[in-house]
């Protein structure tokens, strides 16, 4: 299983973290610090797998962001590279040519997408189309709810409660 997902920028800023195994706050910061040091200093030609504390960490660099996933010893590293790519392609489809800024300003949407892709550290859906469809459906529901909430009748109802 995937134990955690980290998105780190080239300068070491954390853009997204998702933990599928229990790590306390202190442990989390420690892990992030260690892995940032380990991964950000690796050269470009080196392989995408690092051994760390008995786990394997698979990372891939897209533009200015490093996508890191920590897996156990039994897992298939090449597949996880594919999963990372899968995630990035879905993000790309959703945001349209995604860049780091999109992830900074819409981090909650990035989390929603990740939740449609991975649960409990395992892959959920291999079709980008399905994921996109689900996210779009939920988004429209939320839009509808927002609209209703801001409709005049609702405002009056709230005011007179």
């Amino acid at each position: 299983m995937i134990h955690f997902v980290l998105l780190i920028s080239r300068q070491g800023k954390v853009r997204l973290t998702k933990w599928y195994s229990p790590y306390s706050q202190k442990e989390r910061t420690k892990v992030i610090r260690e892995l940032s040091g380990l991964i950000l200093t690796r050269g470009p030609k080196l392989c995408n797998f690092v051994e760390w504390r008995g786990f394997k960490v698979v990372y891939k660099r897209y533009a200015s962001l490093y996508f890191c996933m920590c897996i156990g010893q039994d897992d298939n590293e090449l597949e996880v590279l594919e999963i990372i790519h899968h995630f990035v392609e879905i993000l790309d489809r959703y945001f349209g040519s995604v860049c780091e800024l999109d992830l900074i300003f819409n981090f909650h949407k990035a989390y929603y997408i990740l939740d449609e892709l991975l649960i409990a550290g395992e892959l959920q859906e291999s079709s980008k189309k399905t994921v996109a469809r689900l996210i779009a459906a939920q988004d429209s529901l939320v839009e509808a709810a927002k609209e209703q909430a801001s409709s005049i009748s609702n405002m009056i109802a709230q005011a007179t409660k």
Binding site: H108, Y111, L123, E125, S126, T130, L141, V142
Partner: protein, 841 residues
């Protein structure tokens, strides 16, 4: 609630959380939000769906399973799991799957199980993954999920298939019952599924670089691996499809390679069948030559596992693997080195070592430590001849001596001292090496020691081998080397101490340089380091005033016994490890003097290594029994209290009370080329005239002086059941006879029937026999027949001993005994050592 943009609500919540100073405040904020959500639900507020989404996001980000606050959400989770809106159910399942704790898992498991059959496939797939977490947290619940999981395998929706297959895999890992079930019922279906996916036409939705749904491929292969492992029938079913996947999959993109990798893993794990394994290793070979670092890394990993299965096939790729050792990527280098280490055997050790040593010269610093360690252990384990061993070690030391661990150059010295025909060659090679690589500390140490020991051979060109070039070294040159070493600014204490000793030895061998040597030694008289100061003063005084004993002091060191050394290195674990549950009398020595000079490590050359027999006699006794001086081991010994009175025996073996016979005689037993001046007479006193000392290394000069048995070869082939009985101990008052027999089927164990006979005219009462054995033996004493020994051979006491020899065939039995009895109300104690056990016991 703010009816305007819910974006502000999010921003407010985030601002509020960031403003919190403590975790408790954070929790309060979240609780407030959750309460607001619940309130909204009750009011049937329309925008609760949005709040819910944010609420769950906050929940998953801020809380994890270890926090008790999580329990509070269980109820709202339950309600959401029963909701009609599939997205809300999905949200709840997602949250549950990511962070639920064991109690929550137990509470909500029935709901999740029900949801495995929900109408919407998206919910089903989430429920499947959520179940995975539940069974990991609460393995007992696994049985409930077996049937629903099997049903999922019949689905068409890829998402559900992927998650269903994953659920089955995890179920098999958690529950053996599930494994059996899936193996029997589902293997065929799975094979068919995989076939369908492999042969399916182009599907744009699932296509990744030309392959339809590689994720499903991989999950299926993984599940097939779990099912096929250890079961021949299941493995049979999958052969065809595995062969198809292995041959048909395209390997120019990552997706294809990922599938091939998984396929190879599966092939290597299931039961062996015809050509599949060969196919797999060929794929790995192809991977190895791929330019992509990732692929090579993955291949090296797999090859390490493949070696256990089929090492011949892996040997074929040796050349490629050697190339990988020189790769620019650190992870690949490390893996390749480990793999090379596993590949070494007697036939390829020479070329491999040459390659590795050549690479050592160009490798970078962080890698050198690993590389040297591996080269040294390869060379030690597989060296065909001593001269090759010495050559390789010299090369390694010259290149990377500073990375070499102490025990490595200790072992080298042991080997050098044993290879007497190579002494001249070695010392000359070292001399040459030190001229060029003087900054490698271990090299300098070994060189200094050898020059000290074999200095005359260096100067006289003694023992020249054909392959050597002639070299003229004067005595002064030799002293130069040592002088440089002792004055070198980075030389540490050990090196300097060794230099001083070497100088002392040379002052004896090279009388012309004596004055110069004295000057060098004198310079350290005022050293601030106590060790150097002491040595300098002592040696100076020896040179000046004690000319007559100087040569005796610096005689050639006795050959260090290789077998004992490697045995002790291998077994240099504390005595707690070697004491088995069975009654073993491996009592540690030296309880009384833990602070004694640590001569347990015979080769601890930093301590006094002037081979003066008198001072080291008692300490060599410890070496005989190969014991550890640590107090912890003595405790473990005492806890194995035997009827033989353990604390009494401890005194027997402590250094404080030297045993009855001359301790240095024990060194005769184990070190064959001992000088003859140690008392042979005591040996005769100790053992009966017809007995012979059994030595692990044949050809001891001591043997010649005893008539009796001819020295038999040290490794007796004869394991015949009949062993002659021996008189183990014979003094003026007591005789002990041992009769041997071996229980059938267990060559390592010997049953000894000990008979005690009283030679004096007085009756012995309170007769107690005790024995102690070295670490490689285990001893068990049965109760004696009585403890009164009638006088003048009118009767005897018998006692049975059982000895198990873990070094059967390599070392003979040896035992120390102590007999205590009362004669005329006087306590008498007799002690002895039994060395005349027949060979082959």
């Amino acid at each position: 609630m703010n009816p305007f943009s819910s974006g502000t609500r999010l921003r407010d919540m985030i601002r509020a959380i960031r403003a919190c100073k403590t975790a408790a405040e954070e929790r309060a904020v979240v609780r407030k939000e959750s309460a607001a959500i619940r309130a909204a639900v009750n009011e049937n507020d329309q925008d609760y769906r949005h709040q819910k989404r944010i609420g769950y996001l906050g929940l998953m980000l801020l809380l994890d399973e270890r926090q008790e606050v999580l329990m509070l959400v269980t109820n709202s989770l339950k309600q959401d799991l029963n909701h009609s809106n599939q997205y809300i159910v999905g949200l709840a399942l997602c949250a549950l799957g990511n962070i639920c704790s064991a109690e929550m898992a137990r509470d909500l498991a029935p709901e999740v199980e029900r949801l495995l059959q929900f109408r919407d496939p998206n919910v089903r797939k989430k429920a499947a993954l959520c179940s995975i977490r539940i069974i990991k947290k609460v393995p007992d619940l696994a049985e409930n999920f077996i049937n629903p999981a099997a049903a999922l395998l019949k689905e068409k929706h890829h998402g559900v298939l992927i998650t269903g297959v994953q659920l089955c895999t995890d179920l098999c890992k958690v529950s053996a019952e599930a494994l059996e079930y899936f193996r029997k019922k589902c293997t065929d279906n799975l094979v068919k599924l995989l076939k369908d996916v492999v042969n399916s036409p182009y599907a744009p939705e699932y296509d990744v670089s030309g392959i339809t749904d590689p994720f499903l491929h991989i999950r299926l292969l993984k599940l097939l691996r779990v099912l096929g492992q250890g079961d021949a029938d299941a493995s049979d079913c999958m052969n065809d499809i595995l062969a198809q996947v292995a041959t048909k999959t395209e390997s120019n993109k990552i997706a294809g390679n990922a599938i091939l990798y998984e396929c190879v893993e599966t092939i290597m794990s299931i039961e062996d069948t015809s050509g599949l394994r060969v196919l797999a290793i060929n794929i790995l070979g192809r991977f190895l030559s791929n330019r992509d670092n990732n692929i090579r890394y993955v291949a090296l990993n797999m090859l390490m596992k493949a070696i256990t299965v089929d090492s011949q096939a892996v040997q074929r790729h040796r050349a490629t693997i050697l190339e990988c050792v020189k790769d620019s990527d650190a992870s690949i280098r490390k893996r390749a080195l480990e793999l090379v280490y596993l590949l070494v055997n007697e036939s390829n050790v020479k070329p491999l070592t040459k390659e590795l040593i050549d690479y050592l010269e160009v490798s970078d610093q962080e890698f050198r430590g690993d590389l040297t360690a591996k080269i040294c252990s390869i060379v030690e384990k597989f060296s065909p001849e001593k001269i090759w061993y010495i050559d390789q070690m010299l090369k390694v030391l010259s290149e990377a001596g500073n990375f070499v661990k102490d025990e490595v150059w200790h072992a080298l010295i042991v080997v050098i001292s044993n290879a007497s025909n190579l002494h001249g060659y070695t010392v000359r090679s070292l001399y040459r090496a030190v001229q060029t690589s003087g900054e490698q500390e271990s090299l300098v140490r070994v060189a200094v020691w050898c020059i000290g020991e074999y200095g005359e051979m260096l100067v006289n060109n003694a023992g020249m081998l054909d392959i050597e070039d002639p070299i003229t070294v004067t005595e002064s040159d030799a002293v130069d080397v040592i002088e440089i070493a002792v004055k070198y600014h980075t030389s540490d204490l050990t090196t300097r101490a060794m230099c001083l000793i070497a100088l002392l030895k040379l002052s004896c061998h090279f009388p012309t340089c004596s004055q110069r040597i004295k000057d060098i030694i004198v310079q350290h008289k005022g050293s601030l380091v106590l060790e150097l100061q002491q040595r300098s003063i002592e040696f100076n005084s020896i040179i000046e005033k004690h000319q007559n004993i100087r040569s005796a002091l610096v005689e050639r060191m006795p050959v260090l016994d290789e077998a004992t050394y490697s045995g002790r290195r291998a077994g240099s674990l504390p005595a707690t490890v070697s004491t088995s549950p069975g009654p073993a009398l491996n009592l540690p020595n030296g309880v009384a003097k833990p602070a004694a000079a640590p001569l347990v490590d015979l080769l601890d050359l930093s301590s006094d290594d002037v081979p003066a027999p008198s001072s080291s006699g008692g300490d060599f006794l410890q070496d005989l029994l190969g014991v550890d001086l640590s107090p912890a081991s003595s405790l473990s010994g005492t806890s194995q209290a035997q009827k033989s009175g353990t604390d009494v025996l401890l005194d027997l073996l402590s250094i404080g009370t030297p045993p009855a016979q001359n301790s240095s005689s024990t060194t005769d037993i184990l070190s064959p080329s001992q000088d003859n001046k140690t008392s042979i007479g005591t040996l005769e006193r100790l053992s009966s005239p017809s007995a012979q000392a059994s030595s692990p290394i044949g050809g001891s000069p001591v043997m010649d002086l005893l008539d009796g048995f001819a020295p038999t070869p040290p490794m007796p082939e004869d394991n015949g059941p009949a062993y002659p009985s021996v008189v183990a101990f014979d003094s003026s008052s007591l005789r002990i006879t041992f009769n041997f027999s071996k229980p059938p089927g267990n060559p390592q164990t010997t049953l000894i029937q000990a008979t005690f006979a009283n030679k004096s005219p007085n009756v012995y009462t309170d007769f107690i026999f005790q024995a102690a054995v070295p670490k490689f033996l285990q001893l068990h004493l049965d109760p004696a027949s009585s403890n009164t020994l009638p006088a003048s051979d009118n009767g005897s006491i018998t006692q049975t001993l059982r000895v198990t020899n873990s070094q059967h065939g390599k070392k003979s039995l040896v035992m120390r005994i102590r007999i205590g009895y009362k004669m005329n109300n006087k306590d008498i104690l007799e002690e002895g050592q039994i060395n005349n056990f027949p060979h082959g016991l």
